[in-house]
Amino acid sequence: MTEQLQITPEKAVSSKEFTVQERSQFQIVLRRFMRHRLAMGSLFVFILIVLFAYAGAALWKYSYTDITPDNSMPPSWEHPFGTDNLGRDGLAKVMRGLQQSLKIALSVAVIGIVMGTAWGAIAGYFGRHVDNLLMRFADMVIILPGIAVAASLASISQGAWWSIALIIGGLASANVSRLIRGLVLSLREQDFIEAARALGASDSRIILRHLVPNALGPTIVSATILIAVGILAETALSFLGFGVQPPDSSLGLLIQQAQSAVNTRPWLFYFPGFFIILIALTINFIGDGLRDAFDPKQTRVRR
């Protein structure tokens, strides 16, 4: 093996060879996403909501536990979201509710994705009996009436936010696992996986270094969808009284507490409801944008 070996007359690689700018996969995805106006707008709104929940709560003069002398006030400058019958400030409660709901929703996404990816990747990669076993289990989880199961499990843990996230995330991961398994099944047949095997790569290396990174795009998309799922599931659970427990707050709990007052103090009902819809919508649009950005089949032609 000599260093000066001149194997082919491949001409000194000139700058002309790459006329298209060097661009990583990430940059390409980012560029495509930024072009998706609705998704960009939604992302902006979502960031505002998060800021509102955390920064807003830190700055606002009332805490969600404070009891003010004004009870059952409609929205005013003093209490922009009104107050409830005990005189607690609506804005402070909504901000606290948002914090808890967002925390749960994000945790649901993380738990769902991590569990679902491992579940699906193992099933898809090993196939046969492993696949059969894991996927039949996933089918079983999916056909369970999710809310009922979540409600009975949540009542055991008495509404700690992390336990709710764990339960919703765990149930949602069954759906994620099916998606990931499908991806892995098609990736597994690709030449580069066979190439890795021919090089003597171990199973864990193939899964971690090749399969998971290549399934990343759709995984991120489904993670965003899971945030919306998390928000809605938490709302449903808390509304039924199995989720977050008072004196703490969440969007679902706020609605549950306001249901008896829909006619008398509607502001207590509308503000949390508005945020639930807004979050679910923005997250879905962001998911759409990401899906388009990751789709390699998307034309690069501007229309």
Binding site: T8, P9, S14, K16, E17, T19, V20, Q21, R300, R302
Partner: protein, 332 residues
């Protein structure tokens, strides 16, 4: 053979706008096709050979910007509506694509589809059309043609599907058949069958043929005249004999020298580098980064098709230096 010009392409330019800039897929291509002749267009992927024929047929996506002129028997085709063009497609100009499934409908039988093609442009009865369908299948050499009439496309092999497409192309005695890489996806023995079918179709209808391929071997046996394309340009035109035996453009010569062939066993003479990206094309001759004869002039000025002999054009400033040269002398 009459020398009536059927198809006249003049200064055809096709551009696609993209995120990274404009792709100049075809840049000022001109050629003519005479009645009954077989014209080959050869080039590598991205040379613009397929885009050219798609532009002629008006089959490009709406985002493409097409300019220049395409005349069929003196009538301008560019800029016409799709409805007006469909009158030409099939009846006067038939096409055969690389993927036969692009032209076959999976839910109808083969016989139905051929008969349909006959009925669209001819005033005949259903019975007549079916008879003609059988006849056409036999002409393109499909064994057990009568049984195949009732077969669906997915029941046929790739080579057979392609022959069905050729049968459909023949259905209306077209004046021109455009075949775009008709055998690229096929095995050699099946390729031989399909090329034979194409040849038969040409004899039976007297149609002129535009054969687009990357395979110089296929061109050698099935075309009379040849256009070589590189980076969206015609870089050499002439009779096949002119181009195969006395190429006057370094790219053509390099291509011939780099071709593994079964009749000789010499070391191949590769062309270094790769074809340029059609985005942000370098100025001057597009082949200059790979060309052994390159000078400052090549980078500054893009050569036009020089007239180097009767009916032979080559786009190289130094085409005279290639007279009697061998690839291994030029590409050292």
């Amino acid at each position: 053979m009459s020398s009536e010009v059927l198809l006249e392409v003049e200064n055809l330019t096709v551009e696609f706008p993209t995120d990274d800039g404009t792709i100049e897929a075809v840049r000022g291509v001109s050629y003519e096709l005479k009645r009954g002749e077989a014209l080959g267009i050869v080039g590598e992927s991205g040379s613009g050979k397929s885009v050219t024929s798609m532009a002629v047929l008006g089959l490009l996506p709406k985002s493409a910007r097409v300019s220049g002129s395409v005349r069929f028997m003196g009538k301008e085709l560019l800029g016409r509506s799709d409805a007006e063009l469909s009158d030409y497609r099939g009846k006067h100009i038939a096409m055969v694509f690389q993927d036969p499934l692009a032209s076959l409908n999976p839910v109808y039988t083969v016989g139905h589809q051929i008969a349909e093609a006959v009925l669209v442009h001819n005033d005949v009865g259903k019975h007549e059309a079916n008879k003609r369908a059988l006849e056409l299948l036999e002409i393109v050499g499909i064994p057990h043609a009568r049984q195949r009439l009732t077969a669906y496309p997915h029941e046929l092999s790739g080579g057979m599907k392609q022959r069905v497409v050729i049968a459909i192309a023949m259905a209306n005695n077209p004046d021109v058949i455009i075949a775009d890489e008709p055998t690229t996806a096929l095995d050699v023995t099946v390729q031989a069958q399909v090329l034979e079918a194409l040849e038969t179709a040409r004899k039976a209808t007297g149609a002129a043929l535009v054969l687009i391929t990357h395979d110089l071997g296929v061109i050698a046996g099935h075309a009379e005249r040849l256009c070589v394309m590189y980076a969206g340009r015609l870089v050499e035109t002439g009779t096949v004999d002119d181009i195969f035996y006395t190429p006057r453009m370094p790219y053509t010569m390099g291509l011939l020298g780099s071709l593994p062939r079964i009749d000789t066993k010499t070391r191949l003479v590769p062309i270094s580098g790769a074809p340029p990206s059609l985005l942000n094309m370098p100025s001057g001759c597009p082949f200059s980064p790979r060309c052994p004869l390159v000078t400052a002039r090549c980078d500054a000025e893009e050569p036009t098709l020089y007239h180097v002999a009767a009916g032979h054009g080559a786009a190289c400033h130094y085409h005279e230096r290639l007279i009697d040269a061998k690839p291994e002398e030029i590409f050292r």
